[in-house]
Amino acid sequence: MTTAAVDYTRELPVVEGKPHAAELDAAIAAPLDQFPTRTWWISIAVTLTMLSFGVFCIAVTVFEGLGVWGINQPVAWGFDIVNFVFWVGIGHAGTLISAILFLLRQRWRTGIARFAEAMTIFAVMCAGLFPLLHTGRPWLPIYLTPYPNQHGIWVNFTSPLLWDVFAVSTYLTVSAVFWYLGLIPDLATLRDRTTNAVKKVAYSVLSLGWRHSNRHWQHYERAYLILAGFATPLVLSVHTIVSFDFAVAVIPGWHTTIFPPYFVAGAVFSGFAMVQNVLIIVRQTFKLTHIITLDHLEKMNKVMILTGSMVGYAYAMEFFTAWYSGNQFEMFVFINRALGPYAWAYWTMVSCNVIFPQLFWFKKIRRSIPLMFAIGIVVNVGMWFERFVIVVTSLSRDFLPTSWGHYVPTMYDVGILIGSFGLFFTLILLFVRVLPVVSISEVKAVVEGAQPHHD
């Protein structure tokens, strides 16, 4: 892992060394074969505690009412929607890596795609909690679905919230199918390796009779390509539609056309930061540093500097547009963001999202594990605050100064956020124990020498 010796003039090897196929199998499947380590037990104990606290807070919320949260009039959305947008954003990297990078033939994606996809699904599951919980009557979600009924009442197709329901559920479905499809060859490999009867049955059922035959591969590649094509627009659409929740509203600070691209860039930004963070831990713990290489991480850091700069550009443009519009409400909102009661949140956001990621221009930082890990965390904090700034500061001071208010989160708001992290990491910990964190079949295909060539 020397930092200076990288030669960018030629394509970097995707997998370091030239591991044998069987070595790859063993390396990737190793965590599944061993009894969980002490570290794993401690980790899951922590995440389950977080999750239980979240479940407790949710139970109190459902039992008592939304009054236990900090939301009020005028700030009727608080941590709930902030967390929702945050988690949906986290869920972006997975499909981007697996679908778009796949279509673009980015071979380096193989090392990180599986994990990123899994993370996507878990993140969207976390995100999905919030729209349900944030309703005053969470026992009536059926009203949000267009079902025929004797009253002739239909859902309101002009409401972005309804689009959200469709967008997020479609995204979750397609991501899950895509992920599962990619898993099938690996499940078959695991089925073939295992000696445990229970695992054998489970992997057999899940691998759907995969026999690594040429026909299977042919169908598989087709299906994978089609799904990749199908998932690609979803990467862009989900966060676009989430941004419509705000862009379609009349509230200054929300009502802006820059939101769709800005949200997508932000989502990719935070998604990559999260993938990078978690992969750093995974590759060290499971000794996969030759498969999830430093080059991969560096590439992700490059994506982060790109998307981070896009986000920074969007922040600047928002100010410009507000000034250029000549609209006093619009101008006020942005001055208020920077100088008003929530200025601390705004400046946290700007420094985390725009200033710190610029450090990635330095190659040393880009390739330094501790520094990139720290910056990844900073980016996620910043992106969470971005949503906080958008949701809370815009609502807290809108048109009528007589109705301005202040939002202070309560223990339950924080608890549910912690709980969502608990859920996310619990699922990840379970995932690394039962399924291969790297696509075995895909990695085999990109090992140096795996492809025929004519030197």
């Binding site: 900090g70 009039q73 009442i153 859902v155 809108d398 009528l400 202040h406």
Partner: protein, 1035 residues
Amino acid sequence: MVEKRDDMNAPESTYWRSLKELYDGKSVSETKAHEFMSGVTDDFRIDDLGTMSRKQFLALLSASAAFAAAGCNAYRDKGDIVPYTKKPEEVTPGIADYYASTCTGCSNSCGVLVKTREGRPIKVDGNPDHPVNRGAVCPRGQASVLNLYDPSRLRSPEHGSTSGKRGAMSWETVDSEIRKRLRECVGEGKEIALLTNTLTSPTTTKLLAEFGAMFPTTRRYSYELFNDSTRRAAWESCYGTSAPPVIAWEKASVIVLLEADILGTEGNTLEQIRKFAAGRDIMTGDRFNRLYAVEGSVSLTGTNADYRLRLRPDGQLDFVLGLLNEICFVRGEARMDPEILQVASTVSLHALEKNYGLPLTVLTRLVDDLLIHRGTSIVYAGDTLSESLHVAVNYLNEILGNTELYVPGQTLLSHASLSTPAEIQALVARMKEGRVGMVIHCGTNPVYHLPPSVGYREALRSVPTSVSFADAEDETGQWCTYLLPVSHTFESWGDHSVRSGILSLQQPMISPLHGSRQVEAALLTWMSPEGSYSETVYHDYLVNRWEKEVYPRFRSRSDFSAFWLSALHDGVLEEREAEQSGRRFATAALAGVGHSGVAPQFAAGLRPNSYLGDGRYANNGWLQELPHPVSKIVWDNYAALSPATAAELGVQTSDMIEVSVGSAKQTFPVYVQPGQADRFVSIELGYGRTNAGPIGSGVGTDANILLSPASLTGARVFRDVRVKKVSGRYELVSTQEHHGLDTGPLDLKDLGTKRGIIREGTLAAYQEDPEFMVKEHKRPELFSIAKEVEYKGVKWAMAIDMNKCVGCNACVAGCNVENNVPVVGKDQVGRGREMQWIRLDRYFSGSAADPTFTHQPMLCQHCDQAPCENVCPVSATNHSPDGLNQMAYNRCVGTKYCSNNCPYKVRRFNFYNFRDFFADAYYEQDTLALLHNPEVTVRSRGVMEKCTFCVQRIMEARQHAVEQGRPVKGTDVRTACQEACPAQAIVFGDMNDPESEISRYRKHSLGYYVLEDLNVRPNVTYVAKLRNIHTEKVS
């Protein structure tokens, strides 16, 4: 064989796809029009659904109902519902009955019309036939219905000991014990003290006199925490009668008020607001008064002034003398009587400017105005000011000829004068000496009201028998040996006369809910030698007096029974009294007028509060949660300080200060009140009760303890007050923050006008060019990309005239009662979760030291292009064909998106089931179920709600119209806020009717919409506020 169709060449079947289509085109084309097979329609038209016959439907319906009933027998037992076996003649389920009566919430005795449903009072409105309040009723009157159903009300008499222990007892025992005791007292020669508030009822006065005659050791005492004793005393010394006249405010061109909150807390505010607003009607447009308010504290009236002069009340006598001096000596416009000459000649306008910092230009204009409008101007002093100031004011009006504005033949009556402080102190002394055998508190609470320096509570322990008539145990009842439940106003009979020539009747609409009696009935029972109580005892007494004393005065041609019933029906009788002979000002009264002069020390003013009365409404959540009209603070009183004084003391809002007056001191939270006079603390009385029930106990701070005995009937302005900062903080909670005076980078000043929320101009500009507002604010050209809905029938709209609205909150109170708006409590208001559907927004402009105020009622604007509607994912909020923005509570899932997207932030969310959440479900107890308006859904937790334009009233009007076979008219409906508004500032009706009042308002050149540029097309028009200020340059 296929028959050839006749119309085969009809244009729609030019092309055919099969022979069948060619020859039998109709059925095919019809089938094609439906995507699916026969019987399936494309859209859900209710008419087309189902082919079930009516009989089948009913059979299935009854079967499913039977199954449901059989299956759900244990589900939530709601108690027995028993139908009438004999329907009372006047009660029809679903139809409201109205009873005219009189409100006893304060001593103004306004006429009310109480709406009852199925025999239970649910809403109080003003009696439109009552000449004083004319259909309006104040927040207190509106909310008094809640007291009727207050779960804390006593269920039966209780006996107690001086140690405070108590237990239930029967009325029979009470009767026999008290009867015996009364006779013992007379026998022993011990005093029987009867404590009442101001007596408003001639019959009660007579009854008390008879009681006194029967038990000769009886002495009657009256006190009233808020009273107009100084005004009456001054009147007495000036004119020899203690009945001051009613003022024709509507005729006044110039009004000068000295610490007189005529629109908020003093006098009959309903009448005063109506008359004041009538003098500012741009629709009739012939008169527009000019209001100068001179005050130390910021009153609601002051916020409505064209000119507001900040002056401590102790400097206000000098102010009046300065005016006299200017008018008589400097301008030589009147001759001054020698009695006051010496004093007045020393105060010039320049001195006022120099000593009190009052702007000379305004003072000069004030004097100009008074002189120009001689006879149509009025100078009026507030109840808390001293007698000599009132005398000086009376004199000023006299020399200006303003006495013409005293309404002839209408004076404020007094059946019995209030006890002097000396009399009260003598009573206490006798009680302590054991010379008082019995005290009867007729709904009074002296332990709370009288300052501790009087020592009433200690004295009460030395009285062997003490009786408290009260709704619930209070500070006095707690120490009494008998605690007797008193009937609510709506359970009692009575008559009231507080103004010459006007008699109003009070009748019960419901028989006592609990084992209560009205005071008069109990006294009558004790007066009869044995005889048991009968429900009609006081009714009979009242009727008897009316037959003997009132009926003959009217020389009615009908018999008494018809006379009585028609009086009862109308609730009020007007009687022409003989014009009083010429009033002569006794100049001798002026001899006592001296200088005031402001000392450098702090001064304090103890003011009446806006809604709680003398504290008797403390347990009423609706009133506690009504925002203070000026500060918007709820659930508390506070010490108001000017920004400069607060800075001097180093305190901010919610910090604590200790205020000492003489030896009495009390700690208060500070509220920094822009516009307050410097070094002047004003505090509202009526708070800080210790035993007012679960809602009212411990709300606010008791300031009564700062009163001196002398101030009980004297001035309430204290000089030589010491104020110091003390440690601690007490969070005051308001419904509105103080934006609008902040400077700094955000530049929040004058946002109201900058943002197009409020529009203001001067009267002069309007008179010069009535279209000036339209020219100043070009209406932007706005278009909609969607096809606009046409409203062909009735379309509901509202207009609010900001020239008339004074910001009194009566609309809020009316709306609360009409629409079952829950109480949420102080902590929830602090979190920004108040539920009121209409609110009074307050905007500041100018400096923090001396701001200008604007009040704006804000409610759902029922926008044609409502931003809330298109974001609701379930269409729970949608638009009706008659232009209402509707809420379907059943459908609402509570995403709150609508509220976020509402530019006016008028939507309210049920964060909890507030009835259950607030005060341990205090308002979810059984009796409260009777309170709710059955026409309005009680909203559950998790749903959004907001103003409906009183859709239940619209529906009722429509039902009547359908019954009568005519279309509904705009004038058929009056909303609750409109009904409640004493200023008649709210107009409601059909904007599609070009003849209607509402159309005139919508088309008025001063009419505008709030946030017009957003193109949401509101249906509430605001009429821009005109300020009647001088625009010409001073010469």
